[in-house]
Symmetry: C2
Subunit: 171 residues, 2 copies
């Protein structure tokens, strides 16, 4: 079965981690949490969910993963202030493998300069940033553009999971 990397840091939007990860595990996929520091527990923003980082992003290879999930909250903004996660996302993205981005996740794609000319959605506060990055903001629950599957936020989770699982079945 495929392995899904989850790129995450403190203050992630709890349900944008817990719900997709639960669904992916139930479907038999392996989850590897990647972040700034191996072994560090990172904490959710609203419910305080603790997630242990399995591997530091600087020590992983894009070849380790068949898909990448980036939950939202403040986590993407934290991550994008460091070089390693931004470089990893860039390298991963360029493989063309599926990238599942929800809520504030496009922030790290913007810093990595990856969304110009793409159709994408995300949390309403970052709409102008998405547009300024040269992407088309699409106000829909799920937007699929080549390897990017994106959703706006917690309200879209069921449809986001459905689209991600469908994509995972095809790889």
């Amino acid at each position: 079965m495929a392995t899904i990397g989850v790129l995450i840091d403190d203050m992630f939007e709890d349900v944008e981690y817990t719900s997709p990860v639960e669904a992916f595990k139930k479907a038999g996929y392996k989850i590897i949490n990647i972040g700034l520091k191996e072994g560090k527990p990172v904490k959710g923003k609203k419910k305080g969910t603790l997630v242990k980082i399995d591997n530091a992003v600087k020590n992983v290879s894009v070849n380790d993963f068949d898909a990448l999930l980036i939950p939202g909250g403040c986590s993407p903004d934290h991550l994008r202030s460091y070089k390693e996660p931004v470089d990893f996302v860039k390298d991963y993205f360029n493989t063309g493998k599926p990238l599942f981005a929800i809520c504030h996740a496009p922030q790290i794609l913007i810093t990595a300069q990856l969304i110009e000319g793409r159709r994408i959605t995300g949390w309403r506060s970052i709409i102008q940033d998405i547009k300024n990055a040269g992407a088309e903001f699409v106000n829909q629950p799920v937007v699929e553009d080549d390897n990017i599957i994106s959703s706006r936020g917690p309200q879209d989770i069921p449809l986001f999971i459905k689209a991600c699982l469908k994509r995972l079945e095809s790889i």
Copy 2:
């Protein structure tokens, strides 16, 4: 003495509120906290500082203020997902009166589409957003461009306060 509005919401960077506000009060300026809901206590991100919103942003006029401070943290991103604070910042900005922006504060200026062609600084995670908005990102502790005084984050607070106080003396 002049009146300074402070535009703020939950998860603000504590010291980016407490330090400038303490200095401004000590210098004799009046502070009015404005936010989404009058009377609501908003909470700092790291130290849990509680700040009571004096006036809802929808009920204030740009004429009520001689200067505007926007602290960072997650507060600017929260605020910019609502129409009223974005409209207020736009209206205030167009008066040409001083705007003190630190850390993540440029996020709301980006959503209000106010920084194209301007020189500005801010927190390192939003550098690409600042550039994509058509502004020049300047990696300095304090950047003054016409009515905008901006700083990068907590490390710049002493110089930020000094520049803000100097500007307040001249109005």
